[in-house]
C-alpha cells in the first residue's frame, strides 16, 4: 500500500509535466541544517549551522496567472540530529531519508524574473530511518543501532518556503521546510529498542518532531 502510494505520486507528477503549457523544469541540489525546538531539543547538544544534510529537487513550474505560477515536483532530502552527550539519556544519532511532493505558489516579484518567492505545503513520506544510541552502564558503553523504519510514522505534512534568485538558466535558493507541529515519528518503537524510555534520548523526546529544515541549493532549468 505504501509503495503503491509512492508510485501513484510519481505518476501524478509525470502526468502533470506531460501537459504542454508555459512551464519550466528545474533540477537542483543543496545542503541543509536542521533546527530543532521540540522536546528533543532539551536533550541534545545544539550543533547549529552544520549543514550536514542534503536535498535533491526536481521542480516543475507552470504559469497560473499574472506573476503567479504553480510549483510542484519531487524532493529527496534527509534530516536528523546528532548528540554525543551522555549527561541526560543516551548519545543519539538519528537520520532519516524522505521523499516529498511540494505544492506551492511561486510569486515572480514584479514579473521581472529577478526574485521568486515560493510558499506552499509539502507532504513527505519517510523512506528509511536509522537510529544509533549508546549509554554508559557499569563503566561500559552499551550501544544500540538499527533501522527503525518499521517503528516510525511514514507520512508527514509541512509547509515549505523558498527564496529564489534566477540567473539565466540557473537558480540559487534558500529554503525552509517546516513540518506541522505534533507529528511524532514514533510508532511502537518501545519494546523493540534496546534502551527503554528512561535511557533512550529518542524515546524520552517522543521521537523526531518539531523541527525546521533550512538549506541552500543551486540548480538549473532543464526545460
Amino acid at each position: 500500500m505504501k509503495r503503491c502510494s509512492v508510485i501513484l505520486i510519481a505518476f501524478l507528477i509525470l502526468e502533470s509535466v506531460s501537459v504542454k503549457a508555459q512551464s519550466r523544469l528545474y533540477v537542483s541540489a543543496g545542503v541543509s541544517d536542521v533546527w530543532i525546538w521540540g522536546s528533543i531539543n532539551t536533550w541534545i547538544e545544539k550543533e547549529a549551522f552544520s549543514f550536514n544534510y542534503y536535498t535533491v529537487d526536481v521542480e516543475y513550474e507552470r504559469k497560473l496567472i499574472g506573476s503567479f505560477s504553480l510549483m510542484t515536483g519531487v524532493s529527496f532530502f534527509n534530516a536528523g540530529y546528532s548528540s554525543s552527550s551522555y549527561i541526560f539519556g543516551s548519545s543519539s544519532i538519528f537520520k532519516a531519508n524522505f521523499i516529498a511532493v511540494p505544492l506551492a505558489v511561486r510569486w515572480n516579484m514584479s514579473n521581472k524574473n529577478v526574485f521568486f518567492i515560493d510558499a506552499g505545503i509539502t507532504p513527505f513520506f519517510l523512506l528509511n530511518a536509522h537510529l544509533k544510541e549508546g549509554i554508559y552502564r557499569f563503566n561500559r558503553l552499551y550501544e544500540m543501532e538499527g533501522d527503525i523504519t518499521r517503528y516510525s510514522n511514514k507520512i508527514y505534512f509541512g509547509s515549505k518556503f523558498q527564496f529564489v534568485i534566477p540567473v539565466n538558466r540557473f537558480q540559487f535558493a534558500m529554503y525552509m521546510q517546516l513540518p506541522f507541529s505534533g507529528q511524532s515519528s514514533l510508532k511502537g518503537l518501545d519494546g523493540h529498542w534496546g534502551l527503554n524510555r528512561q535511557q533512550s534520548t529518542y524515546l524520552i523526546a517522543d521521537g523526531f518532531a518539531d523541527y525546521m529544515i533550512v538549506g541552500l541549493k543551486a540548480g538549473c532549468r532543464i526545460r
Partner: protein, 146 residues
C-alpha cells in the same frame, strides 16, 4: 518528453527501492523502573526499605548470594531462573523451590520473594575481576515488584 518521463519514473522506482522495513532484531530493553546496582564483597543488597529484604553478596570464593536475617526485619528467599539476556526476560513468578543461599552466575536471572508475597528480580549483567581473575564487583540490574 519520453526522457523526462524516464527520469522521473526512475526516481520514483529508486525511492521505492530505498524503503526497507527490516526488524531491528533486538528487543531486550530493561524495564522502566529498573535500577543499576554495583556490589562489592560482603555488601548488602536490600529490596525493601530500612534494611528489609536484604541479601549479602559474598565474593571471597565462588560468588554467591545469601539471604540476611536481621532482628525483626523481613528476610527473603531467592531462586535462580537460568540464563537470560536482560532483566525484562525474567518473567517467571515461581512459588516454590526458593533457597537462602545460591551461587551467582553471570547473565543469569534471579527471582526473590518475601514473606509479604511481594517479589523482585535481578539480572547479573557482568562481573568485574582483578588481575588474578577474582571477582571484585558484581554489576546487577534489579527491580522490586514486576
Amino acid at each position: 518528453m519520453f526522457k523526462l518521463k524516464t527520469v522521473i519514473l526512475s526516481l520514483a522506482v529508486l525511492s521505492v527501492s530505498c524503503i526497507n522495513e527490516h526488524d531491528i532484531g533486538i528487543s531486550c530493553a530493561d524495564p522502566i523502573g529498573s535500577e543499576d546496582y554495583v556490589t562489592a564483597d560482603e555488601s548488602w543488597m536490600c529490596f525493601l526499605p530500612d534494611i528489609n529484604g536484604c541479601f549479602r553478596i559474598e565474593l571471597q570464593t565462588t560468588p554467591q548470594i545469601r539471604s540476611v536475617y536481621y532482628d525483626d526485619h523481613i528476610y527473603g528467599w531467592i531462586k535462580d531462573v537460568g540464563i537470560k539476556n536482560c532483566l525484562s526476560e525474567i518473567t517467571e513468578k515461581p512459588l516454590d523451590e526458593f533457597s537462602y543461599l545460591l551461587p551467582l552466575v553471570e547473565h543469569h536471572g534471579y527471582v526473590v520473594r518475601f514473606p509479604d508475597n511481594s517479589i523482585g528480580r535481578f539480572y547479573i549483567d557482568s562481573f568485574d575481576t582483578d588481575s588474578f581473575g577474582h571477582v571484585t564487583r558484581v554489576n546487577i540490574i534489579r527491580q522490586h515488584n514486576y
